[in-house]
């Protein structure tokens, strides 16, 4: 199966290793991976900040870049939910684009849901000796209903001990521009999240959402905690034969 990689803007310029790991994992699942040129971003910043006119332009660009792809996979739940759930909303009054958005939305997948539900691969042969805790990002868990898939994949990683944290499904406080507009509230939220992570004694914090990782991981590093924040793709790509 041909899979087009969608690399979210944060991954593209700040965490390119996550995109590389995603490509590796998909290849290992037997996919023929491509990277369509001209892709930029899904436009959720524009959409969520109320600039729908601008978001529509970005959405049209996205649809045109990916319209011929058999399947599109992204290492981020929020970008996928943007395309799948919110593009049709954005083009509600524009039938042509709405139809195109809906049609494309069916072919856009978050990495873990693609692996487990579409490719039907659970064991990627990965190996990582560590104690890990998984964070249920709001845009992965609540928006897309992806809860079991990452845990299934992680349970097959050799040497990995997966533990659960208290209040795993409570938001980490990022919320995109929210964290810039209301920094004090956002900091209090991420501090609480980190206290739950630390309480598990895990060495790895794993998530399928790059934005949460930037927030929680950035906080962990700044505060000098030893917990490493990793995208699930990075973990799944490691040590496989």
């Amino acid at each position: 199966m041909k899979v087009a990689l969608f690399v979210p803007c944060i991954v593209q310029d700040f965490h390119p290793q996550v995109a590389e790991a995603t490509a590796m994992v998909l290849a290992r699942a037997g996919m023929d991976v491509s990277y369509p040129k001209g892709q930029t971003c899904c436009g959720q910043l524009q959409y969520k900040s109320g600039n729908w006119k601008s978001a529509r332009k970005v959405a049209r660009h996205f649809i045109e870049v990916f319209q011929d792809s058999e399947a599109v996979v992204a290492p981020s739940g929020s970008c996928v939910s943007m395309v799948r759930k919110y593009y049709p909303e954005l083009f509600r009054d524009k039938a042509h684009w709405r139809d195109r958005a809906q049609e494309l939305g069916k072919r856009v997948f978050e990495l873990t849901e693609f692996l487990v539900q579409v490719a039907q691969v659970e064991d990627l042969g990965a190996k990582w000796e560590a104690k890990a805790v998984y964070h249920d990002s709001c845009q992965v868990y609540r928006a897309l209903g992806i809860h079991k898939e990452p845990r299934v994949l992680l349970s097959r990683v050799r040497g990995l001990e997966l533990v659960e944290m208290d209040q795993a499904d409570v938001c980490c406080g990022f919320g995109g521009s929210f964290s810039l507009q209301f920094p004090a509230v956002s900091e209090a939220m991420v501090a609480e999240k980190v206290s739950h992570i630390l309480a598990t004694g895990a060495e790895l914090l794993v998530s399928a959402e790059i934005s949460c990782l930037m927030n929680i991981g950035g906080y962990l590093r700044k505060q000098g905690h030893r917990v490493e924040a990793l995208h699930i793709a990075e973990l799944l790509a490691r040590g496989g034969e």
Partner: protein
């Protein structure tokens, strides 16, 4: 009530530094959220019930004019009087006139958010009427001179030692901390007020069109006293509260207490139809129903915002909201707080006075997950953000920097080559500014973000790494 929603940021910051408030807010999760989850888990088909609740509200609002007319006719048949109030001022005038014409000196009140919305207490007090809140939580905040901080637990932000202090100071009683003792003090104080009051004022959790009844849920019995002891009962009800039948009420009664407090049924459920009838032993001589619009018909007319009116005022969206649980209800600066407050406030007050509220959410969606009538709160928050940003009628005044940044970013995103150039420029700059992940300078507001979190430095973009990744993939190995 004075709108202080523009102070959200500042008040949130104060709330975060208030250690006692933070401890009090932590209890909400245990007291309300857990109870709600257990109550719904015990249901055979919780989703089905919620769908039914939503369908009832959808249907009721679609037929609102007809339902309101039916309600009016039935209330009149039962001997009640119906008043229509277009806004807060008209509603207050109706109540104040009634009080004046009938020589009312003392009013006892049941807990009602809608009377907070129209600032009724202040209006009555201004003409010399003594007003007593009789719900324990409302009584506490009335003594403290504060607005409610939660839709169903108005004094949830206070701990029992704070209440003990307050009672000792305001009521001149000895300082006691046991909740039973505090309740006894309030009860004694209020009992004399109940007996002396000329008018009882309540809201309503629902109004049933087919019978002309209003429905009141409570756990303390104070509302029942407020509607039966005084000679006049005035009920203030938002027009969105009307439902067609008692069968529909059964669904609302199954949803509301479970969502609000985790109870299968509130301790007292009163269905009131008109005043005392000949031969009856208790009840008021007069029953007045005031149907309040105050912006609701404007919301009703907009299909994108209409579901804001489904709200049953259970408060469950507050209990699960990670933002509310950090900043408390007072940060929202008006009557309604939490996710539903962030949605309703800019629709019920001049939007520019509450322009920050729809943005004060991470859109995590926990609220929509518990809403008994499945209001799509994140979608409404997004709609309100769009209105405030792009609709001249809303005059939002979003921070200019944010608006410009989002637009500039959006403009670049449809021009891949230029976007690449801009990001390469940023990367070049970052070489001088960031060493080993430490930035010597960052533009605000990123600098604030960076004070608590490490900001990643710009890496060699994936688009340039891709050819080498592709080679690895073609070789069939991944080099690990």
């Amino acid at each position: 009530m004075l709108v202080r929603s523009l102070e959200f940021k500042q008040r949130a910051q104060e709330a975060l530094q208030d250690e006692r408030l933070q401890r009090n807010l932590e209890r909400i999760g245990v007291r309300f959220k857990l109870g709600r989850d257990l109550a719904f888990a015990a249901l055979e088909d919780p989703e089905g019930l919620r769908n039914l609740g939503r369908a009832i509200k959808e249907r009721s609002l679609a037929n609102l004019p007809l339902l309101l007319e039916t309600l009016e006719a039935r209330v009149k048949e039962a001997g009640g009087v119906v008043h229509w109030a277009r806004n807060a001022k008209e509603a207050c005038t109706i109540v104040c006139d009634l009080a004046r014409e009938r020589g009312v000196r003392t009013v006892v009140k049941g807990k009602s958010m809608v009377t907070e919305e129209i600032a009724l207490n202040q209006a009555l007090q201004a003409q010399g009427v003594e007003v007593w809140e009789t719900d324990l939580g409302e009584f506490i905040i009335q003594l403290a001179g504060e607005p409610p901080s939660h839709i169903i637990g108005p004094a949830v932000h206070k701990s029992k030692d704070q209440i003990a202090e307050l009672f000792a100071e305001k009521l001149g009683v000895e300082r006691v901390e046991a909740p039973e003792e505090l309740t006894r003090i309030a009860r004694e104080k209020l009992r004399e007020k109940f007996l002396g009051a000329d008018m009882g004022i309540t809201g309503a959790n629902a109004a049933v069109a087919e019978t002309g009844s209003i429905v009141l849920l409570e756990n303390e019995g104070n509302i029942r006293l407020s509607v039966t002891l005084p000679r006049i009962h005035v009920a203030l009800v938002g027009i969105e509260k009307v439902i067609p039948t008692l069968d529909d009420l059964a669904v609302i009664l199954a949803l509301l207490p479970r969502s609000a407090t985790g109870q299968k049924l509130s301790s007292y459920t009163s269905i009131i139809t008109g005043p005392r009838r000949p031969g009856e032993l208790d009840g008021p001589e007069e029953f007045h129903l005031i149907l309040l619009d105050n912006g609701r018909s404007r919301i009703l007319a907009d299909p994108d915002r209409r579901q804001s009116l489904f709200c049953l005022r259970c408060g469950s969206c507050l209990n699960v909201c990670p933002v509310y649980r950090k900043v408390g209800g007072h940060s929202y600066g008006w009557v309604y707080s939490g996710p539903i407050g962030a949605v309703l406030t800019p629709q019920l007050v001049p939007p520019r006075l509450a322009r920050d509220l729809p943005f004060a959410s991470t859109l995590c969606g926990a609220c929509a997950e518990v809403c008994p009538v499945k209001i799509e709160l994140p979608k409404l928050l997004l709609t309100m953000r769009q209105r405030l940003t792009e609709d001249p009628n809303f005059d939002g005044g979003i921070p200019l920097m944010m608006r410009l940044a989002a637009r500039a970013h959006g403009w670049l995103l449809t021009r891949p080559a230029l976007y690449r150039l801009a990001m390469d420029g940023a990367r070049l700059a970052s070489r001088f500014l960031a060493r080993d992940g430490r930035w010597s300078w960052l533009p605000p507001p990123v600098s604030r973000w960076a004070s608590k979190r490490q900001v990643p430095s710009l890496a060699r973009p994936f688009s340039r790494v891709w050819p080498s990744v592709q080679r690895k993939l073609m070789q069939g190995g991944d080099g690990s």
